[in-house]
Amino acid sequence: MKKKFPVFSLLILMIIVIGCFGCGLFLTKDPRYMDLAHFDTAPNKEFLFGTDSMGRDIFSMIWYGGRISLLIGFLATLLSTFLAVLVGSAAGYAPAWADGILMRATELILSVPSLLLTIFLQAAAGKANRYSLAVVIGLTSWMGMAKVVRTEILQLKNTEYVLAAKCLGGGFFHLLWRHLVPGLVPSILFMVVMNVKNAMAAEATLSFMGLGLPVEEISWGSMLSLSENAFLTHAWWSVLIPGLFLVGTIFCLTNLGNYMRKSINKRHSNL
């Protein structure tokens, strides 16, 4: 059965991404500006999404903060994908004993809850900023993908064109980047999309717990961390709105990822 392309999800995702990165064009308020006269204001004409407890405009913060959330998502995924391809292909390509060591090591790290690992690493790295957070999340989320990459490499390395390239004297990295990685892309694409989603969720979790970005650095996660107070002051908008944006983005990414996985599986079963 053909899975329908998730047009709707893609549309929402594009609106959010374009809105966040192009927010300079349409925002009228400074997201950092504390309008002390209008704290905890419910959504109205001037403040479309209301204001938080220090009078910052949530509408501006959402778009502005989204940039950092998305940036962390993308950077972390870039790093984790790179690590996954490196470790996975090395294991797949290496002799059995090295493969064994690499995979057992990967499984060892995989067996530690990644949130715990993230917290440890962030604590060791010191004060969090957007880049350190991206690195820490990236460092703790490559393991699953590395295992997939390894399986793919095991298949690919015995294909004729790889053998041919090898016979012509191609080194490991040449083979990897020119011949193996292009073959891998379709099968890990959905994992990449899922990783973006996971990284964004991890950022929000860490910031919410006060271990991620400081409150001054606006992201959806740090906005949610401020909202702890909002439960007590009944300022529902300062919880609901960043929450909706985060959940919406993650939902769309999941839909997209699932679609990719299904279409790839289909192709594999057609082999």
């Binding site: 500006y33 504390m34 002390l36 006269a37 220090m54 702890e228 107070n229 007590l232 002051t233």
Partner: protein, 537 residues
């Protein structure tokens, strides 16, 4: 609080000063015995017998690493465990404590205290005059580095006349002396020869107070049980638990969940308990102010001390009070606004961004392209540090920093894990004592005094504070404090922001809290009459 002896900002004047009306009339004055009616005593025993279940009060407290009233300025648990020779009543006047009466000899500047008889330490040993001498001498010993030392620097000699009598000879009159004798007395028999900063005693304190330490689970809870032999009569509530909850939000949630019976909350959090069944809100006035401390040890302020008035004019105090404190506070212009010696006439530095910019330009600063002034090629830029955990201060610092940026000084906020008192540029400080005007002024603004964390030094300020301390004549004192406040306004040590009300939320079952007492720094002081509180289950 009390993370260490140097943790100043969380300062509290439990053992400090007061408005000593008594002294103003003093020659050789006898102060009468406090009343202790035996019928009242009997009634208490009766109620205690009726209640089979122990009555427990759980209070949401800051953290303690030690309980050391002699070395640390603050610590509200002290008043439950210890007594001073004198005490403060609900009007913050001096009343008898461990001393049932005292007299003052003008000619020799000598106070003689007559102690209560039959008072016992929690471990059963008798309390004597030697304990008093030991405690104050330990505080005065410079090797011990006590935050309270400036309060006793004019004590020349302490004499133990007999077991129940002790006298203090001062080098010069000190009007606030009876206030300072509220200092908790420590037991000599447990502390003689011990290190006054490190001793284990400060984790197993033994006092004479209404409650004794039952157990201490570090970082979790300090459990106090009532002292049946308390010399002023056993308290009604059987146990008081100081549950350590350092985070403001967590405190509110635990109050909400019923895990706490009493807590000091932020105004925003306290507002959610107003008019709710089962809770009573106590919005108490305090002498507790907040301001931006400028650290004059830092090079930036050595070079730019003259732009401090611009910073003061930049702060819109009412806006901060309305947004951060929900209006529960008042704008501050000086350290004595809740005191009888307050001088209204000084410069208030009311919000005036125009004037702030004029001052900057008058000082030779040039506005750069980014709207920030530069001086001799250097951008005007400083960082306000704030202690973590106190949401009100953090919010205040952010709001003030934004207002300072608006007049063209680049000001940011950081929340360091450890406060670097000598290195930092500025700090969101709090002080303020409800007692004598000498308290939290002499040692806070005097050159090189124990609690002067800004490195502030002004010869005139020193001189006026000394004059005020040494005179018992209210007119001389008023004059000296007027001049002190004028000078401090001219050459500000802090950019004062506001006085904050203390918003206590209690279960309605707690009776006996006095709502009109002016609280001290950090809203401390609510426990002054804990022995009289009751709780119905």
């Amino acid at each position: 609080m009390i993370k260490s002896a140097k943790n100043k900002n969380k300062t509290i004047g439990l053992f400090c000063t007061a408005v000593i009306l008594i002294l103003s009339a003093c020659g050789t004055t006898e102060i009468g015995e406090k009343e202790k009616t035996s019928s009242e005593q009997a009634k208490r025993e009766q109620t205690a017998a009726d209640q089979a279940e122990p009555v427990t009060l759980v209070y949401g407290s800051g953290d303690y690493t030690r309980i050391n009233p002699a070395m640390d300025e603050h610590g509200e648990i002290n008043i439950l465990l210890f007594n001073g020779l004198t005490a403060h009543n609900g009007e913050n006047e001096v009343v008898p404590g461990l001393a049932k009466s005292w007299e003052f000899d003008d000619a020799s500047n000598t106070y003689t205290f007559y102690l209560e008889e039959g008072v016992k330490w929690h471990d059963g040993e008798p309390f004597t005059a030697a304990d008093v001498k030991f405690t104050i001498e330990a505080i005065m010993d410079p090797e011990n580095g006590s935050e309270n030392a400036p309060n006793y620097e004019d004590v020349e000699e302490i004499t133990v006349v007999d077991e129940q009598t002790v006298s203090f000879r001062l080098s010069a009159p000190n009007v606030a002396f009876l206030d300072y004798m509220t200092m908790a007395v420590l037991p000599e028999h447990l502390l003689a020869g011990e290190n006054m900063q490190e001793s284990d005693f400060f984790r197993n304190p033994v006092g004479t107070g209404p409650y004794k330490l039952e157990s201490w689970d570090a970082g979790q809870a300090i459990v106090l049980a009532k002292n049946e032999d308390y010399f002023m009569g056993a308290p009604h509530i059987d146990r008081v638990i100081f549950k350590i909850v350092t985070d403001d939000n967590a405190k509110t949630l635990q109050m909400e969940a019923g895990e706490l019976d009493l807590a000091l909350l932020t105004p925003k959090d306290a507002a959610s308990f107003a008019n709710r069944e089962g809770f009573s809100c106590y919005d108490m006035r305090t002498s507790d102010y907040r301001g931006i401390l400028f650290n004059f040890h830092n090079d930036f302020w050595k070079k730019n001390r003259d732009i401090i008035p611009a910073v003061c004019y930049a702060i819109d105090r009412q806006a901060i009070i309305d947004a951060v404190l929900l209006g529960q506070g008042m704008p501050a212009y000086g350290p004595l606004q809740q005191n009888i010696y307050n001088n209204e006439e000084v410069e208030h530095y009311d919000y005036n961004p125009q004037k702030a910019r004029e001052i900057l330009e008058g000082a030779g600063c040039v506005e750069g392209e980014d709207g920030i002034y530069t001086r001799n090629g250097e951008r005007l830029s400083f960082v306000i540090s704030v202690g973590a955990g106190d949401q009100v201060r953090v919010d205040m610092a952010h709001a003030a920093a934004q207002q300072i940026r608006e007049i063209g000084i680049d000001c940011t906020v950081e929340i360091p894990t450890r406060i670097d008192w000598n290195g930092q540029m500025a700090y969101l400080i709090g002080w303020g004592s409800p007692f004598d005007a000498d308290d939290h002024t002499y040692k806070v603004f005097g050159t090189d005094k124990g609690a002067n964390y800004s490195g502030y030094s002004n010869a005139l300020v020193d001189q006026y504070l000394m004059q005020a301390r040494e005179s018992a004549d209210p007119q001389v004192r008023a004059e000296a404090y007027n001049r002190f406040q004028e000078e401090l306004a001219k050459d500000p040590a802090y950019a004062f922001i506001c006085y904050i009300d203390a918003n206590y939320v209690a279960k309605s079952s707690i009776r006996g809290i006095s709502p009109d007492t002016v609280m001290g720094h950090h809203g401390v002081g609510i426990f002054w009459n804990i022995a009289d509180w009751t709780m119905e289950e």
